[in-house]
């Protein structure tokens, strides 16, 4: 009776193999609609574990204050806060959400490689029922909600269910040095022609027209996006940025944008040696008075305000189309045993009152920015966000398009600026990345 035993070996092997395959595909059951509880005091004793990335001083200040107020209002909820820097949170959240003791709430990056992948794996809880219970649909404009919406497949940003809401906003605009512009006899540019003229005048006067450092390859894409805003339109740019099926890189406006970036390089409008300069070092140089313009995000406000006081100004690109997004949305883990309490917490930190705390601690609140007090560059940033976030001209970051987009676009722009890729090859690289993700995954 040896034969049956031998025959059984492959079967056993197959069973063992299947049992040992890494990962799991059991998606947690969805909570039926209509069962949402919003009475926090009646939820009994609950501990909420929260992974956030509010670790810079201004961020830490606002979240600590809001947590304290939440605790005071609802003593039955205990908050177990785990603060990690953005990079650390991004690297550990995947393990965190798949673990059995997953956090109840986590800040999750909007992109496909993060939120999209987690939605696909069923690790996040859809928040639509909470959105209607707490009226987040009125609180947050559609443009903001879209940046945290995915269908079950996790592959199209901006469609399907809502998976998170943010506290803060951010824009990538044009910082400028007021004194230098005045010295050159110029006003802050309102049209692209004025911007061109200002760059030329700055160069002729021996100034650095655009201060930029692209060693990390993060600033190059900002510059390319700026050029895209000049020649493209917000709808097409959004399609490209979110990797929609009908998006196409090989168009005339994109060619013009790529040529524009190469042209800025050729004319010597960028910092000498920008390819070897760190982005933060470039911001520091701009703060120290080196450079007339600096293409960077509103997150530089604290640094530049400290260095330049009211001499720093912030502009939307001429034409008003601007790259922008929200801070990391707060999402609820599918494994959370207390999703109702988690939703109540997220509601609490995004109320009108909470936005005041967010702003007074030195952050850019996603809502009601125009009503917050502030002067100088802070006023600029608050007002420009208010203007952009309620317009239809805010375009998401280019790296939401595909899981590899951050690396692909950063690398391609770097090579375009180094003259290692011509315009066609550059756009071809982006198009190839877009197409490689279609149909598959």
């Amino acid at each position: 009776m040896k034969l049956p035993v031998i025959a059984a070996v492959p079967v056993i092997a197959a069973v063992v193999l299947a049992a040992c395959a890494p990962g799991s595909d059991n998606k947690p059951a969805q909570q039926p609609a209509g069962e949402v509880r919003t009475d926090v005091a009646a939820m009994g004793d609950v501990t909420l574990t929260i992974w956030d990335q509010e670790t810079r001083p201004a961020q830490e200040a606002q979240i600590k204050e809001l947590n304290a107020r939440f605790q005071a209002k609802y003593p039955n909820i205990r908050i177990n806060r785990v603060g990690r820097s953005f990079d650390d949170l991004r690297s550990t959240i995947k393990l965190g959400l798949t673990a059995n003791d997953a956090p109840d709430i986590a800040q999750v990056n909007n992109g496909k490689q993060d939120m999209g992948a987690f939605v696909k794996a069923g690790l996040l809880r859809p928040m639509d029922s909470y959105a209607s219970a707490y009226q987040w649909t009125q609180r947050f404009p559609e443009s903001v909600r879209k940046l945290a919406s995915y269908p079950d497949s996790g592959d199209v940003l901006g469609e399907g269910k809502l998976y998170g809401v943010p506290q803060t906003g951010e824009l990538v605009g044009i910082w400028y040095n007021k004194a230098k512009l005045t010295e050159l006899g110029l006003q802050p540019p309102k049209t692209w022609d004025e911007f061109d003229a200002a760059l030329a005048r700055a160069k002729a006067a021996g100034q650095v027209p655009i201060q930029i450092g692209n060693l990390e390859k993060s600033s190059g894409p900002y510059l390319f996006a700026l050029a895209m805003h000049r020649f493209g339109n917000p709808a097409d740019e959004t399609r490209l940025a979110t990797g929609r099926a009908d998006a196409n890189w090989l168009t005339e406006p994109n060619r013009q944008a790529a040529r524009q970036v190469a042209d800025w390089v050729d004319k010597g409008y960028l910092t000498t040696g920008f390819a070897g300069l760190k982005s933060d070092d470039a911001t520091e140089k701009f703060g120290a008075g080196e450079g007339v313009f600096h293409v960077n995000g509103t997150w530089s406000l604290a640094t530049l305000k400290e260095a330049m006081k009211d001499n720093a100004g912030f502009l939307l690109p001429p034409g008003g189309t601007v790259t922008g997004g929200t801070g990391l949305p707060w999402a609820i883990s599918a494994k959370s045993r207390n999703p109702d309490a988690a939703a109540a917490y997220i509601d609490f930190i995004t109320t009108q009152d909470a936005m005041k705390t967010v702003a007074s601690s030195g952050n850019l609140p996603v809502l009601d920015a125009g009503q917050q007090p502030g002067a100088g560059p802070e006023r600029d940033v608050l007002d420009k966000w208010q203007e952009a976030s309620t317009s239809t001209k805010m375009v998401p970051y280019l790296d939401y398009a595909t899981p590899n987009a951050y690396e692909v676009i950063g690398g391609a722009v770097e090579q375009l600026m180094a003259k290692q890729l011509d315009v066609e090859a550059f756009l071809g690289r982006l198009q190839a990345d877009l197409e490689s993700r279609r149909g598959g995954r």
Partner: protein, 286 residues
């Protein structure tokens, strides 16, 4: 039971160390090997992929480039430091300079500093407005931002770090050589070069083997230096290394199986290199 006879109880003494070894080294290694046979994004259920992860390493451009770059780095991390270390050690041994411990310490210092600190310091030196451009009079040159010079720049830092290790090993080796041998060589009319060839080189065979092994493995697994100095694989992807590809694939692009496969290949390479070096330079023949 005779003294010195192997007894089973001996295994008991080795057990604690063995348990730690199995739990923290052997098991993760085997588990990586297992993962490398799957196509897995780290989140959903993995699917059996057999050896396709390994096969694609040979066909795909990114992985091949990474292994090519590490070949260049071995030159800078291993071959150059051993050569320079030999020269320095011989010189320091021949010329009785004052303050030898001081120079020895200074040359060994890079080994003691955390790699991240080394990377940040050299990033400043290589910066467009950094010290190197000031000395060379090439203001504004982006050494780390140019695909022609980025890998070279990282390599030079590697040489700077590893030379001290090689030199200290060799100095110790030379110190053990009997003075009679040097005297005999000199009586036979050997000059500095002859002495180096006939006395120092044979005596240092074991140390050279150790230095090569340590530095080659350091080159193969290098990550922190490259990742800090040239983020995202450097200009035009000119400084990607296998360890960077592992990190990128496992944590960012959801290709855990492929990452594990690279890890296994690097481990096998390290074993092979170590084996060859101990074979050629091993003490047992000296």
């Amino acid at each position: 039971m005779a003294v010195g006879e192997p007894r089973r109880v001996g295994y008991l003494y080795a057990l604690p160390a063995l348990l730690v070894y199995v739990a923290f080294l052997l098991f993760p290694l085997l588990h990586s090997g297992w993962l490398s046979l799957f196509a897995w994004d780290g989140l959903s259920l993995g699917t059996w992929a057999g050896l396709s992860n390994y096969a694609s390493l040979f066909s795909e451009e990114g992985a091949a480039a990474a292994f090519g770059h590490v070949g260049v780095l071995i030159l800078f991390f291993s071959v150059l430091p051993v050569c320079i270390g030999l020269v320095l050690a011989t010189a320091l041994h021949r010329v009785r300079i004052r303050g030898l411990p001081f120079f020895r310490t200074v040359l060994f210092l890079p080994q003691v500093i955390a790699m991240v600190v080394v990377a940040v310091a050299w990033q400043r030196i290589f910066a467009p407005d950094g010290a190197l451009n000031f000395v060379l009079g090439t203001e504004g040159k982006a050494w780390l931002g140019d695909s022609a010079t980025a890998l070279l720049s990282v390599g030079i830092v590697g040489t700077w770090v590893q030379t001290g290790l090689a030199m200290v090993l060799f100095l110790g080796g030379i110190g053990k050589v009997s003075a009679d041998l040097f005297d005999a060589a000199r009586l036979d009319g050997a000059g500095p070069a002859g002495e180096f060839r006939a006395v120092i080189l044979p005596a240092l065979r074991g140390e050279i083997g150790v230095a090569l092994t340590l530095t080659v493995i350091a080159a193969l697994r290098t990550f922190d230096l490259v990742y800090m100095m040239t983020p995202l694989g450097g200009p035009g992807g000119s400084t990607t290394v296998p360890a960077y590809e592992i990190y990128q694939r496992a944590f960012h692009t959801g290709q855990v199986g492929s990452a594990a496969a690279i890890g296994v290949v690097i481990t096998v390479l390290a074993f092979l290199v170590t084996y060859v070096i101990t074979r050629v330079a091993g003490r047992e023949r000296a």
